[in-house]
């Protein structure tokens, strides 16, 4: 069995005590437990404190642009379905600038695992409100607070059609590792929303807050196959549910794609267009001939 150290990259430059350390360590442990081959794994990230994680996780990585990690991951997974594709980002990245992409990735049921480090604040730009900032929290840029209710990612994921919806707390390593492993094993779009405290800019959502307010769904008899129950739990305004809210088996976008027997894959075709042409020469002739008028 490989060790989590195999997946350790650069040392993170996150603030000491940042919740993201726990998420990174849990990802490395889950990867080791699952025996993910480093060469066959891609971590895609966006922008923000969370986005730097690609340097810290020693597999292939794609550190893209703000909010666009999921579309890039969609392209990667469809181009090479043999890869295990992980996507990591923050609440601003995924539920602010990237919210539209989040809904559509869920709807497509793209087989990627989306790990959100939700700290309810913009950290890298020094403490502005994020889409999940509580209405009661004021910041330097928003002294009146966000003047809006927070986005509810779990409900959105369910509404979008995600087939694996879970929430975790970065202070609970054991549960987080287990959920990440389940999410990666799940075939389809999986969201693991991780409550990951920002120790620098968020004085409300602290480790102590989450220790007090989280509760484990598994211990409350929650039925993760029950969509209505999942919605009820996702709407909980008092506590912070952790564990698997919802799980379903639905075809992925990959499953809907027509199969073309005997054709080289996308990556092979890209590597040798002449061979790809030869494999489908009759079709190419047909397409060209359709335009031939004399």
């Amino acid at each position: 069995m490989s060790q989590h150290k195999e997946y350790q990259g650069k040392d993170p430059n996150w603030c000491p005590g940042c919740g993201d350390f726990g998420v990174l360590r849990a990802m490395q442990t889950a990867a080791a437990d699952l025996g993910l081959a480093r060469k066959d794994t891609v971590l895609v990230s966006g922008i923000g404190c969370s986005g730097n994680i690609t340097a810290y996780f020693r597999t292939y990585g794609f550190h893209g642009i703000h909010g666009r990690a999921l579309p890039a991951a969609t392209g990667i997974k469809l181009a090479n379905p043999d890869l295990t594709v992980l996507v990591a980002g923050g609440d601003g990245d995924g539920f602010g600038i990237g919210l539209g992409h989040f809904m559509h990735a869920a709807r497509r049921n793209i087989d990627v695992t989306y790990i959100v480090m939700d700290n309810q604040v913009y950290g890298l730009t020094k403490g502005q409100t994020s889409p999940t900032t509580p209405a009661t929290m004021s910041t330097k840029a928003s002294p009146m607070g966000p003047m809006a209710d927070p986005v509810r990612p779990l409900e959105l994921a369910l509404a979008g059609g995600a087939t694996f919806v879970a929430q975790a707390f970065s202070g609970d390593m054991k549960q987080l590792v287990a959920l990440l492993k389940e999410g990666v094993r799940h075939r389809g779009f999986s969201l693991i929303n991780v409550q990951s405290p920002c120790v620098t800019y968020n004085e409300l959502n602290t480790y102590a807050f989450f220790r007090e307010h989280t509760y484990d769904l598994a211990k409350r008899g929650h039925d993760a196959m029950d969509l209505e129950a999942a919605h009820r739990v996702a709407r909980d305004a008092e506590g912070v549910p952790t564990g698997v809210l919802y799980r379903a088996d639905r075809p992925t976008m990959q499953d809907h794609l027509p199969r073309a027997e005997g054709m080289p894959g996308l990556v092979a075709s890209g590597g040798d267009p002449a061979a790809a042409y030869a494999a489908a020469a009759d079709r190419f002739h047909g397409w060209a001939d359709a335009f031939r008028v004399r």
Binding site: G270, G271, D272, A276
Partner: protein, 594 residues
């Protein structure tokens, strides 16, 4: 530096030996566009060199529509300055058609549509389109009567058009075909009886050579497929939508993937993701979509990820004029976006070249690890042209195969042995692909060292940027045909253009040669990195340089002036009314005193 802008239609030689122009108009649903398309296709099959123009109204009034076909000896993409023969089925479309006519034109109006006085000076005559169709037992076959009459008036053997009927109605059975053929021949016979056996206009003689009949969007799509493209993601937008529509079923046949994404931002990011994974991937868009994609173009530059973007240009900022023609994106394609990244911008010169330029965009994008644009425009994207057949196999072979990434198994960027981005002075090389055992690294949108890791070290930064500058010089050196020069000897005028406006220059050059001038056509095919030395050689030292393009800001002319000391010789020839540049525009400027 006199500035010569295009004005209204002027007298032209379109109805002379060089070609004729034909237009049909009436109510949408009367088979006008399909009839025009079938007409042109049949003519292409008979060896003529047709081009089509779609004359979309800027506003739909009364559901009127027109279709235009032009026949010239050379078949360049270039609209006629005026229409020779026009056929109209209703009264409301007449003013719009009349605006394209002139003295010497002939306008045939369906019997019963009365009282129209042409202000153009065209001859107007009634013609029994509806009655002859009814007599043929197919009242809807007015368009076929019109095609038959057109054959007689243009000196085209009507038998040539039988194929058009079969093409359009074959699926509906023999009886329908027979009645339509009857309508076609009735129109031909009636026109000869009324107007005489000698054709009123003379189409250029057909030529016995092989031909393809297709649009630029179709040609570009074929070029992409030949170049190994197996992933396409896009968002619908006029006039780019039919690229994805064309590619989707064909990609499915060869195991590729085509996706309609939620927006253009997602489309290009998905394409870049696919490119990072090793697929050859493409998106197609137009103005507003191009603006949205600009963020991701920088991503492709920074991460050195190949991708190809077809920009089917349309005029105007914001929504602009979606169905009209313009070449207003040059500066955006060349400079659009923050920061300084490597990119390739190619502008094909005609429909056939859209095939080659798109394949070349894939080749350059792969070799130099950067985004590559292909600048099409409405005239090239949507209008069809009869062209010499393209060779998909040769284009596939020219792409070359991906070599090894050169890293030992297990080596990665973290152990310091792998530099996915290469070092200064390195030849271009590819990074490892996910799935490869050697060369594991991460692609970084943040400024990075050759290792891929983020850095703000001034020396490393300078080295990385210098490497990008070197790439740009290499692209110019290796690009196929960065500039196309046509015309023998020492020129007395240089017609410099890009994209489909090159068609107007080619046509104008022929007309200038006919009158004893020595024009040279210079088509800038590689817009960026700008092939300065090739263009310097092409424009020579003395002759006036007419820079011809479909925009108002003279985008190519200004780019040219910023690159070469040609200020005193440049004259701008601009058309920005939403229609393509005409050879008249060029001719007028070439004949104007310096």
């Amino acid at each position: 530096m006199p500035k010569v802008s295009a004005g209204a239609d002027a007298g032209d030689a379109v109805s002379g030996a060089r070609g004729i122009a034909w237009m049909i108009g009436g109510t949408a649903g009367e088979g006008l566009e399909s009839g025009g398309e079938a007409f042109a296709r049949a003519l292409a099959a008979a060896g003529y060199r047709p081009t089509t123009q779609r004359d979309f109204p800027s506003r739909i009034r009364g559901g009127d529509t027109t279709a235009t076909v032009r026949l010239t000896e050379d078949g360049h993409l270039c609209p006629p300055s005026a229409i020779d023969l026009a056929l109209a089925f209703n009264a409301t479309v007449l003013p719009r058609m009349d605006a394209r006519l002139r003295g010497g034109s002939l306008l045939l109006v369906d019997e019963g549509v009365e009282g129209f006085v042409a202000t153009s000076g065209a001859e107007v005559a009634a013609f029994p389109f509806s009655r002859l169709a009814q007599e043929a037992g197919m009242p809807r076959a007015k368009n076929m009567v019109a095609l038959g009459a057109s054959a007689a008036l243009l000196g085209i053997p009507v038998g040539v058009l039988d194929a058009a009927v079969a093409q359009q109605f074959g699926r509906k059975g023999d009886e329908v075909v027979a009645r339509n053929v009857a309508a076609l021949h009735a129109g031909d016979a009636h026109a000869r009886a009324v107007f005489g056996e000698a054709p009123r206009f003379r189409a250029p003689a057909p030529q016995d050579r092989p031909a393809m009949w297709l649009s630029g969007n179709e040609a570009a799509s074929l070029g992409a497929l030949a170049a190994g493209c197996r992933f396409a993601a896009a968002y619908p937008i006029t006039p780019a939508s039919d690229v994805l529509e064309f590619l989707t079923p064909r990609l499915a046949e060869v195991g590729g993937v085509a996706l309609q994404m939620e927006d253009e931002v997602a489309a290009l990011n998905a394409v870049i993701g696919a490119g990072f994974a090793g697929a050859r991937a493409l998106t197609a868009t137009s103005g507003p979509g191009l603006s949205l994609m600009t963020e991701a173009v920088g991503l492709a530059s920074s991460t050195e990820t190949p991708c190809v973007i077809l920009d089917c240009q349309r005029p105007g900022p914001s929504t602009g004029m979606p169905t009209k023609h313009g070449q207003e994106d040059l500066w955006h394609l060349v400079h659009g976006g923050h920061g300084e990244g490597v990119r390739v911008v190619l502008a094909p010169t005609d429909v056939r070249d859209a095939f080659h330029a798109t394949a070349e965009a894939f080749r350059l994008s792969q070799r130099f690890r950067c985004p590559a644009f292909v600048a099409l425009d409405s005239q090239m994207s949507l209008f069809k042209q009869a062209v010499e057949p393209v060779d998909l196999e040769a284009e596939a072979a020219r792409q070359g195969a991906r070599g090894p990434n050169g890293s030992a198994d297990g080596a990665d960027a973290w152990d310091g042995t792998v530099h996915p981005y290469g070092d200064a002075g390195d030849a271009p090389r590819r990074a490892a692909l996910p799935g490869e055992a050697g060369g594991i690294h991460y692609a970084n949108s943040t400024e990075h060292a050759p290792s891929g890791f983020t850095t703000e070290d001034p020396k490393v930064r300078v080295a990385m940027v210098d490497r990008r500058l070197a790439r740009m010089r290499q692209i110019v050196a290796e690009a196929q045909a960065p500039v196309v020069v046509e015309g023998e000897g020492d020129p007395d005028v240089v017609l410099l253009s890009w994209g489909s406006s090159v068609g107007a220059c080619r046509e104008a050059a022929r007309r200038l040669r006919d009158s004893g001038r020595r024009p040279r056509v210079v088509a800038v095919r590689l817009l960026w990195p700008f092939p300065r030395e090739d263009v310097r050689a092409a424009v020579g030292d003395e002759a006036p340089v007419l820079v011809v393009e479909a925009n108002a800001f003279a985008q190519m002319a200004r780019l040219l002036r910023s690159e070469l000391p040609v200020h005193e010789r440049v004259r701008e020839v601009l058309r920005y009314d939403g229609t393509p540049v005409r050879s008249d525009d060029v001719l007028r400027a070439a004949e104007a005193p310096a």
